[in-house]
């Protein structure tokens, strides 16, 4: 079984963000970066599949400047087998352009499964997996919360708003992974040592046409400062009055 996982390097979301002078990117000074959470789950699932089979190969792919090789190396230290860096120095906000480059790399790779996170936690578009599937003409299942792959068939579960559905498709397929299915493992020291010797190929990204343009980034309007109205159950009558008369939600 050949598996590919597309991973994105994103800033640590616990940081406080500042907008860079350009107005179209964040100020990266002082930020920490790591693999997008959901991509970590996707990498974990792919590695688990090869471990369970005792065979197969996981290729991790990431697009961006040279520093994304650090993120790829982390995936190798988790247990992925080889990495492909699609080099692209300038930031690209257009998901379809990025997906076109990923699809170009994946197309002739002979992959049985292509996995991605349900979304990148920075851009929150939730579209790259679907774009890649469409560009490759492959079956696609998004936001998988349970997964079983056997005998050439994918069986998956997806959580919906107030419901869930069970989905099946044949291999090869493109899947995106939701939370709750697996925790990304921490690389072991042995894994980190082994990763240093694993192949890392770097080549220019073949971006697609740009369909939209990022105009600006802004910080959202701040909420008014919080207010404590009282202590313990004695504050309940005042809360109910405020919900009725001020907030008008009761």
């Amino acid at each position: 079984m050949k598996l590919a996982v597309c991973i994105k390097r994103v800033p640590d979301m616990e940081m406080r963000f500042k907008i860079a002078a350009s107005g179209t990117s964040i100020d990266e000074a002082g930020l920490k970066f790591d693999m997008s959470d959901f991509d970590g789950y996707a990498a974990e699932i792919a590695i688990q599949i090869t471990e369970k089979l005792g065979a197969g190969e996981v290729t991790v792919i990431s697009l961006g400047p040279d520093v994304v090789q650090e993120t790829l190396r982390k995936a190798l230290s988790m247990g992925a087998h080889r990495a492909v860096h699609l080099k692209q120095d300038a930031p690209v906000s257009d998901g379809l352009a990025v997906a076109t480059a990923l699809a170009a790399e994946l197309r002739d790779g002979g992959y049985d499964l292509v996995l991605l996170g349900r979304m990148a936690v920075d851009t929150q578009n939730r579209s790259t997996g679907a774009f890649v599937a469409e560009l490759l003409g492959l079956p696609f299942i998004s936001a998988i919360s349970k997964l079983d792959v056997a005998e050439g068939v994918v069986k998956a579960r997806r959580e919906l708003e107030g419901a869930y559905e069970l989905i099946e498709c044949p291999l090869p397929a493109v899947l995106t992974i939701d939370e709750g299915i697996a925790r990304a493992r921490y690389p072991s020291l042995k894994g980190i040592m082994a990763a240093k010797k694993k192949p890392m190929e770097s080549k220019p990204a073949q971006l697609g046409a740009i369909t939209y343009q990022l105009e600006k980034l802004e910080l959202p309007a701040e909420r008014a400062a919080g207010r404590i109205i009282g202590e313990g159950k004695d504050a309940v009558p005042e809360l109910v009055r405020l919900l009725k008369e001020e907030a008008k939600v009761l």
Partner: protein
């Protein structure tokens, strides 16, 4: 004037609120720029019954596709049918940024090489340009995009546009599936409502959420009781709580869970970790009940009560019941 398309999501033979939101958004654009609203309704035989509701919300034309193979969501046939339809020339198309929307809309856009803005909270049509806003970075940054291609494909965040009635003719036209819907490679074999048939977090006007301050899973009963007292409330949870298995992962509100903005959010025993705030800070009114008066949740709470959630909740539940009863 080119027309505006709106895809109306249904599930298990029911119209989704999101399906009315897309029609309302399309109506707003059509009223401003001209053109008609074409609403698309796809489902098992019987789904055409919803055409009247789409007409009431501003659909000039309702394009209906009924087939048994659409009893469950049938992504490949829907994508093919919508892509074919968009090829006939539209100014824009509105979808819901729902689980189903996120599964299908990007495929439609990629097939047609169209600009797709996902999870949009605001949009502006002016001349040839379409400008949209979309929150990112766990809702800490608002991204503004300009879409270059026509039609512009937009998925709307739940609640970004609320359903408004604006009756139009809603002439029903039957359309055909662009591919044989029985031969799709991706098959949904079962769709089932979550246990209890509760209100969904994305649609409930009120959310009562619980955190570690509840001490153990059984105490979530207090949260459920308050939700029941409101009657229009859904129950949510923090990641700490879903990770511990007190509540299902689908209840998780926060950076890696659901992003919600209800009219009222009641945080019970939630300290307000930054990942949790990311998922709920856009709520209109926030109430926090927490023992620790230094908890970050109080920085965003319109109304905070410092106290033991186990002691405050039963009293609040009774008071809400009385208020609802007119007392």
């Amino acid at each position: 004037m080119p027309n505006i398309l709106a895809f109306s999501e249904t599930r298990l033979g029911e119209m989704r609120r999101a399906g009315l939101e897309t029609v309302t958004a399309a109506r707003q654009v059509a009223d401003a720029t001209g053109g008609q609203v074409h609403a698309v309704l796809i489902g098992a035989p019987g789904v055409a019954q919803f055409a009247a509701r789409l007409a009431a919300h501003g659909a000039d034309v309702v394009l209906v596709l009924e087939h048994d193979a659409f009893a469950n969501y049938n992504p490949e046939a829907i994508v093919a049918t919508l892509a074919q339809r968009l090829g006939s020339g539209y100014r824009a198309a509105f979808f819901a940024a729902s689980a189903q929307g996120h599964d299908l809309v990007a495929r439609v856009a990629a097939r047609m090489k169209l600009a797709y803005a996902s999870d949009v909270t605001e949009f502006k049509f002016a001349g040839d340009s379409v400008t949209v806003k979309h929150p990112g970075f766990t809702n800490k940054i608002v991204q503004t995009f300009q879409l270059k291609a026509t039609p512009a494909i937009i998925s709307l965040r739940a609640g970004a546009v609320l359903p408004v009635e604006n009756p139009k003719a809603g002439t029903v036209e039957a359309i055909a599936s662009a591919i044989d819907p029985t031969t799709a490679r991706v098959k949904v074999t079962l769709t089932e409502k979550a246990a209890g048939g509760k209100l969904d977090l994305g649609e409930a006007p009120v959310i009562i959420a619980g955190g570690r301050g509840l001490k153990e899973a059984a105490n979530f009963k207090l949260v459920e009781d308050l939700a029941a007292a409101f009657g229009n409330a859904a129950v949510g949870a923090t990641r700490a709580v879903t990770d511990d298995g007190w509540r299902p992962h689908s209840d998780q509100i926060g950076q890696t869970g659901r992003l919600v903005s209800p009219d009222l959010y009641v945080a019970c025993g939630i300290s307000g970790a930054i990942q949790h705030l990311a998922g709920m800070r856009t709520s209109k009114t926030i109430v926090a009940i927490n023992k620790d008066k230094e908890a970050p949740i109080f920085k965003v709470a319109d109304y905070g009560i410092v106290g033991d959630v186990m002691e405050v909740l039963p009293v609040l539940t009774e008071a809400v019941k009385q208020a609802k009863a007119g007392g």
